[in-house]
């Protein structure tokens, strides 16, 4: 097939559609001007194919190309980096479509498209994207096949069969490479892949409205698989940042200007209950802390504990983290450092007298610290407090206004007010943020904790028990800790609704959601998170521990060999084993001739082949003739007897062995 031949119109259109489908997901990442330009180019291309628009001239095309290059460089300040590179690639491909005319152009377009298909994974590695890219790539492969074998016999469906077959043959190779290829630690190519996209999650600051905003997001924060008995939902407090400092409105981890905390001495945890062991898969949230069930006692070496008993990683989390931790639900903490005392009793400047008075009254009425805390909880319970996602805005003194005027708030209001009250009563207290609860995926054995379950509660220092958790929100809305906030069903006036069993449609949707979550969890665990650690773990399970790089390399080669063998088995080559012995010998003869440029065609009989040889290489016809003659006798002639046949076969073999054609001049 001549590369310079023109591409049929049908193929042009199909190719353009394939490339457009492949570029489509990138449109969202491109600046709007480029995206619009790209769409215009595509429309032009389709217009040309449908003979509605004139094809661009060479000079016009050059001009557009130059212009768009300059635009991309100008917009991104260069061509390096993910966004600029992908924009340029997408744009160039759209332009290539416009000048696509010959078969060669078709090849080039498809090969470039394969680059583009890989580039999608720089933006997202989620299953839908993978499936989409695979589907479009398969379509392009079919077109490639149509270019290579312009055979009308098999339409798109026949092409698909072949592609499926080829992909199946390649599968063992891919599997071996995936499993055995040495894995590098660290994120993919050390690129800051998620650099531009905002990640939702808990902050190390809390002010009214922060968590309630978060609670409307259905995004997964992490998934937990319990390896020991599953605690009750109201016990599931996932510990995040501990906030000490308040200015009345905003809570922060540390007072401004504090030395980078190394935590003083670590708060010692004395376990009083059964340990709970679990595996947690944390979505990357670009912050250092990781979550653990209140209160962790054992964890991975990768993480450290802070003085408050929280776990933190050494650097900001850009990869999905998977770790095992052990926690106890009943515990005591020992020792209150001077710093803790100082920070735990800090009050905002200008705290209103109403708040102070209330706290002092409780203080004087109560016999112990715990009684004060109980009094505060009772206050929340008895006064008309409302748990709502859309509380009225608070003014200069939020705690005061909330406690005495508005009385509507979300967990951050309650925990903030409660902690402030405790401090005003002279009891060390702090705010703890994190997540509360978790929904069990009924189709798998793990819990999903979503951003919607973000929560804030308080911890109060009690002399004999250490830091004790108090959840004022639970006092106001006990169902909060038993059910999850239903992010999809916030009431009109902002009243919070909880996840309860809904009608059958809702249940079906939930089931679907759980199924999907289970699939993507396994995808995360087995494909995306397959790094050096999981590789080592897998090999160990196969009994191949303590493999060094060389060993891994050898294993890889062996695996590749096996995979190639499998591919060969799958290819069905064996099935075409020659039924006729003379064909095997004659095939060698054909191959020898093919090497000197005379190729036999599959549909060509031996005599026709011989005539063609005589024309192409008259010098060979003398040695070719007896071979063809013998072959014809063996293959098409009336067999005389077995002895004779064997003799002929031998003679044919000898003749073919001796046949050594030289390349023509």
């Amino acid at each position: 097939m001549n590369d310079q031949e023109n591409l049929s119109r049908a193929l042009q259109i199909k190719l353009s559609l394939g490339v457009i489908a492949l570029s489509l997901p990138h449109l969202g990442y491109l600046p709007i001007s480029l995206a619009v330009g790209m769409v215009l180019l595509w429309i032009w291309r389709m217009g040309v194919s449908l003979e509605r628009l004139p094809a661009p001239g060479r000079w016009l095309l050059l001009l557009v190309t130059l212009g768009s290059c300059i635009y991309v460089v100008g917009h991104y300040g260069g061509v390096l980096g993910r966004d600029a590179g992908v924009a340029l690639l997408t744009l160039m491909l759209a332009l290539k479509l416009l000048e696509m005319r010959t078969i060669r152009d078709g090849y080039l377009t498809i090969l470039l498209s394969f680059f583009l298909s890989i580039s999608h994974f720089l933006f997202s590695q989620e299953i839908p994207v993978v499936l989409y890219v695979f589907a479009v790539t398969a379509y392009l492969l079919i077109l490639l096949k149509a270019l290579e074998f312009p055979d009308p016999e098999s339409g798109t469906a026949g092409g698909l069969g072949l592609i499926v077959k080829i992909v199946l043959q390649g599968l063992p190779l891919v599997a071996v490479l995936f499993i055995l290829f040495p894995r590098l630690s660290g994120p993919l190519w050390n690129l800051d892949l998620d650099g531009s996209s905002a990640v939702s999650g808990l902050d190390d600051e809390m002010s009214p409205g922060r968590i309630s905003r978060l609670s409307q997001s259905d995004e997964v924060a992490f998934r937990v698989e319990f390896r020991s008995e599953v605690p009750a939902t109201e016990e599931l407090y996932w510990r995040g940042p501990v906030l000490w400092h308040t200015d009345g409105r905003t809570w922060r981890a540390e007072p401004p200007g504090a030395r980078p905390s190394n935590g003083g001495e670590t708060g010692k945890v004395i376990a009083e209950g059964e340990p709970v062991i679990y595996n947690l898969t944390l979505e990357p949230h670009r912050r250092t802390w990781i979550f653990a069930l209140d209160m962790p006692i054992q964890w991975d070496d990768r993480y450290q504990a802070t003085a408050e008993g929280n776990l933190v990683a050494r650097s900001k989390l850009r990869d999905r983290q998977r770790y095992t931790a052990t926690s106890v639900l009943r515990y005591r903490t020992a020792g209150l450092s001077g710093r803790d005392w100082e920070w735990g009793t800090q009050l905002p400047d200008g705290l209103s007298p109403r708040v102070k008075d209330l706290a002092q009254r409780w203080r004087s009425e109560a016999v112990s610290d715990i009684a004060v805390a109980e009094q505060a909880l009772a206050y929340f319970r008895q006064q008309p407090f409302v748990y709502t996602l859309q509380p009225p805005p608070l003014g200069a003194d939020p705690v005061d206004e909330f406690l005495f005027d508005t009385r509507q708030g979300f967990c951050e209001h309650y925990s903030s007010a409660f902690t402030t009250l405790m401090r005003a009563a002279g009891i060390p207290a702090r705010v703890v943020t994190g997540y509360q609860g978790g929904e069990r995926n009924p189709l798998a054995r793990y819990f999903i904790v979503r951003q919607a379950q973000a929560h804030a509660w308080a911890e109060v220092w009690l002399e004999d028990r250490g830091w004790v958790r108090f959840d004022p929100t639970a006092a106001v809305a006990p169902e909060r800790v038993r059910l999850s906030v239903d992010s999809a069903a916030v009431g009109e006036r902002g009243e919070v609704r909880f996840r309860v069993k809904g009608d059958w449609l809702r249940q079906a949707m939930d089931q679907l959601g759980y199924g999907w979550d289970a699939v993507s969890a396994s995808w995360n665990e087995w494909v995306l998170a397959y790094g050096p650690d999981s590789q080592r773990a897998l090999l160990r399970r196969l009994g191949l521990d303590r493999l060094d790089w060389a060993g891994l390399g050898i294993l890889l080669l062996v695996g590749l060999g096996v995979a190639l063998g499998l591919a060969w088995l799958l290819s069905g080559r064996r099935a075409t084993k020659e039924a006729y012995p003379e064909n095997r010998i004659f095939q060698r003869f054909r191959e020898k001739l093919a090497k000197v440029g005379v190729r036999s065609k599959p549909h060509e009989g031996p005599n026709a082949f011989q005539r063609r040889i005589a024309v192409a290489r008259p010098d060979l016809s003398k040695s070719v003739e007896p071979i063809v003659c013998l072959y014809v006798q063996l293959h098409y002639g009336r067999p005389i007897n077995d002895e004779e046949t064997r003799r002929h076969l031998r003679a044919l073999r000898v003749l073919v062995n001796r046949f050594k054609p030289k390349t023509s001049l």
């Binding site: 049929s8 049908a10 312009p150 009308p152 016999e153 098999s154 339409g155 026949g158 039924a579 006729y580 064909n583 599959p602 549909h603 060509e604 009989g605 031996p606 005599n607 026709a608 014809v632 293959h635 098409y636 002639g637 009336r638 067999p639």
Partner: protein, 327 residues
């Protein structure tokens, strides 16, 4: 006439002694003599002869005036066959072909008056002009090699060979043969215009009809039947039968064709290939023989299904034989 043939047979070498090479030579001579009258159509003449040797019937589909009649008449003359031409018209009745029984006053019974079909080579001119009823009368006769009138069967002459012509254009008022009927014809040929040199010679030369009239037979009936018998003995090896089977299989599985080839087509393909082989002076069939006759054997039995690109100007026959691998 039959006796005469038997007498002559003794002068010819016996069937067993007859070498394939002799047949090849004889065919070449015949074709050469035909070439004096039909110019530049050697291949078509050979194909028509192969069809005859394979004991099949021939359909010629072409425009008027390219020599269809001449070819049929010429074959009849050269082979020494009794020739009859039937011009098919819309009012032609089966009896006009087969014959009628007429009351004979002398014997007091019905006597059969044989129609023009009682000949050895029949030219059914413009077969698609007749009504289906008449067409099927002819086709039945072709198939059975006998006709039945008033309950009496009358055997047709042997060899019996029908050359039907069909005009592909001007289909108004015609009854095109349906596929099932086309299947009765072993081969379909189209002659096409002569090339420049041949046409010059034709225009300058003598009247072809005169030349035909003066032409002596090259073969006789016995020689023809001998060759026909010889052709049936030509060896088809396993790989060759496999090849033919692959062709049939491909035509049935391929989405390109509306309907696959019938087993009868397969038998026809082998018979025609055998005839072709014997005409080349060979005792065995080669794939090349199948390919030489193949497009003409399958051409009228296969039709491309619609909606396939890239086949413009290709016949089903040539496509099929380029697509199937020789085992």
């Amino acid at each position: 006439m039959a006796n005469e043939n038997l007498l002559r047979a003794e002068t010819k070498p016996g069937l067993d002694a007859l070498g394939a090479a002799d047949i090849g030579q004889s065919v070449t001579q015949l074709v050469d003599r035909a070439g004096e009258i039909i110019l530049g159509k050697e291949h078509s003449v050979r194909l028509a002869l192969a069809c005859l040797i394979a004991r099949g019937h021939l359909l010629i589909e072409d425009q008027p005036g390219v020599g269809k009649t001449t070819l049929a008449h010429l074959l009849a003359r050269l082979l020494g066959l009794k020739y009859q031409r039937i011009q098919f018209t819309s009012d032609l009745l089966p009896a006009d072909i087969i014959g009628v029984s007429i009351y004979d006053r002398d014997t007091g019974g019905f006597r059969f008056h044989p129609g023009p079909i009682f000949a050895q080579l029949i030219l059914a001119d413009e077969i698609n002009r007749a009504t289906p009823k008449t067409q099927s009368a002819l086709l039945e006769a072709m198939e059975e090699e006998q006709v039945t009138v008033d309950g009496n069967s009358h055997s047709l002459d042997v060899p019996f060979f029908v050359v039907a012509t069909q005009n592909p254009l001007q289909q108004i008022g015609t009854f095109p043969l349906p596929e099932s009927q086309l299947d009765r014809f072993l081969m379909r040929l189209s002659l096409g215009y002569p090339d420049w040199r041949a046409e010059r010679e034709l225009l300058q030369g003598r009247d072809r009809r005169d030349m035909l009239r003066e032409l002596d037979p090259a073969w006789d009936t016995h020689w023809l039947t001998t060759i026909q018998a010889k052709a049936r003995e030509v060896y088809c090896s396993q790989p060759l039968v496999e090849y033919v089977q692959r062709i049939l299989d491909f035509s049935r599985r391929s989405a390109l064709f509306e309907l696959g080839l019938s087993p009868r087509a397969g038998l026809g393909l082998l018979a025609a290939a055998r005839a072709w082989a014997v005409m080349q002076g060979r005792n065995q069939v080669m794939p090349e023989d199948v390919q030489a006759v193949g497009p003409h054997v399958v051409g009228h039995r296969l039709r491309f299904s619609g909606g396939v690109d890239g086949l413009e100007g290709r016949s089903t026959g040539t496509y099929l034989f380029e697509a199937v691998e020789v085992p």
